[in-house]
Symmetry: C2
């Protein structure tokens, strides 16, 4: 079934069929009805390739996946779900590109006109994909902020703000241990690590709390937690390997909120998945992707706007993993 068939059955020209679909020119009510009937009768569906060729629009958004989900599989799925949802709401489909393809993946989907736009997840500090994005055929939106975001469209969670909020929750402690991202994450040059760290450090100093920074290594999480606990730590700020950390704590016979304080940077689901719901700053993966997609379609519809960096604000959810309750000493700027 082609639009030609529809035209023949409806007794109109092919262009009329096209205009009925696109609404790009006025059609009499009568003609519209006839055409729509014909389409229904033939169960006509426009050919995507032909349409893309003629219109120079594919109605497809390419999404470049992260190498390894910093947010965990659940967070990643939330991202993807939200992205496809937004895409469908704008009559677009989602094409998946693996991070492994690297720069070539971007070149391919843009160069072959496989998509109208691309979203790149988890961009690193000196991400080579950022460099080439500047002269890509299609608008590109980054999730994460490279060191030089000039000329780029970037959306990210406000890690600095999150760090401050988290420290504020433990501001009346003498000493806080930050169980944070390890060398694997650092190796990927995700600059939210230094961003978060710097902000946390600054906030801690302002509040007069000593902040010990412990990078958690995948292979030794439990061991490290035990060591930290053995050393007497009783205020934990965790940003990585949350599940394993909490279990290690519990295995040590300690309960967050009773025997020690624990705050986390985590998604809401993750923070509430334990027997003790955790006080946490949520990274709001869904908000980030919603923000990204709405911006993307803005660019697509209203033409490419000015490059900028947009941060999704942080917020803390107080639950029961902090003993004394909230007594923040650090004012939020």
């Amino acid at each position: 079934m082609t639009s030609k068939d529809v035209a023949r059955v409806a007794g109109v020209s092919q262009s009329t069929v096209s205009y009925v679909m696109s609404g790009k020119r006025p059609i009499s009510a009568r003609t519209r009805r006839i055409v729509e009937d014909a389409m229904a009768q033939l169960t006509y569906q426009p050919n995507a390739g032909a349409r893309a060729l003629a219109s120079q629009r594919t109605q497809i958004v390419a999404v470049v996946m992260p190498f390894d989900s910093g947010l965990g599989a659940a967070g990643l799925m939330a991202f993807i779900e939200e992205i496809t949802l937004a895409a469908r709401a704008h009559d677009h489909d989602v094409l998946l590109v693996t991070a492994e393809e690297g720069v070539d993946g971007l070149r391919r989907v843009a160069g072959r006109a496989l998509c109208d736009a691309v979203v790149v997840m988890e961009v690193g500090s000196d991400d080579p994909r950022a460099a080439i994005a500047r002269d890509l055929r299609v608008p590109t939106l980054f999730i994460g902020i490279p060191d030089d975001p000039a000329g780029l469209h970037c959306v990210d969670f406000d890690f600095e703000d999150g760090a401050r909020l988290l420290v504020a929750e433990l501001a009346d402690r003498q000493r806080v241990t930050a169980l944070a991202w390890g060398s694997d994450t650092v190796a990927r040059h995700l600059n939210y690590v230094p961003r978060f760290r710097a902000a946390a450090q600054e906030a801690a100093e302002a509040a007069g709390v000593a902040l010990d920074w412990v990078p958690l290594e995948r292979a030794t999480v439990e061991e490290q937690v035990r060591a930290v606990l053995a050393a007497g730590a009783d205020a934990l700020l965790v940003t990585a390997h949350l599940t394993r950390v909490v279990h290690a704590v519990q295995d040590a016979g300690l309960r967050p909120g009773t025997d020690l304080d624990l705050v986390a940077l985590a998604t809401d689901v993750d923070a509430t998945g334990f027997t003790v719901p955790l006080t946490a700053v949520s990274t709001h993966p869904r908000d980030v992707s919603r923000q990204a997609m709405s911006w993307l379609f803005d660019l697509l519809e209203r033409g490419s706007g000015p490059a900028q960096v947009r941060r999704v604000p942080a917020s803390v959810s107080r639950r029961s993993s902090v003993r004394s309750g909230p007594t923040p000493r650090v004012p939020r700027p």
Copy 2:
């Protein structure tokens, strides 16, 4: 840049450029070099829409996501990764379709010629998508087995086999409690639930063990586990909500492998993510998707083959959550 430009620069006809790319007719070494140089010089990339229109092949595989990952987010991501990997290995891309679109999603991607094939994940017993797949324009591969798989290409983990293996691990116990999928999963009519249950029941009877079936409800997992434990259960077979179950058990002061036996149906990562590594039957999500994709490309390349159901064999990994060690009394058929 179009192939016309390449042809001009290379001083050959457009068709020669096309044949250099496709290899569908002999090209002299000299001509090939000239053309390839021109392509490189212009950084030419063929237009996907035009190619799809002319060749009737999009080089795209549509993947219909599950409603709610029965395997958990991690398992789902494994699926997706494996699928995109396989697709790229065959020079195809992956288009994501949400389960929410239901039957219409299938009709859309097939009808508009957005893809050459489709993979449907997590199909239910009387999945309406199965019905329409039979007369879809493109080969369709189901992950999961509907009640009437006639005329369909289905791949699934062998849940029956998995059930038997799991029961065998606890075959010398008097009484085993199965903490299994709850009403939400059942409501989705995933027929691996009854398939698993029937096989487990049969194996249990053969082995002379009493099998108590407890459907775990999302809202009350911990409560149910406590109740079961309080009732004296000391041999658990869990197929759902694994993390929460294990934590509930530990919170009750019990250690799997020490105070009670626990075997699970889970991915390997999930089974080893606890302080006590669990004896488990792995659902091998990666194997399932690899199997599915290799079959799919067989169909695509060698033309649509005969419909059938293919099961990915189960296997048990003995770890340390069972006390007496493996003493299976139930022979594997």
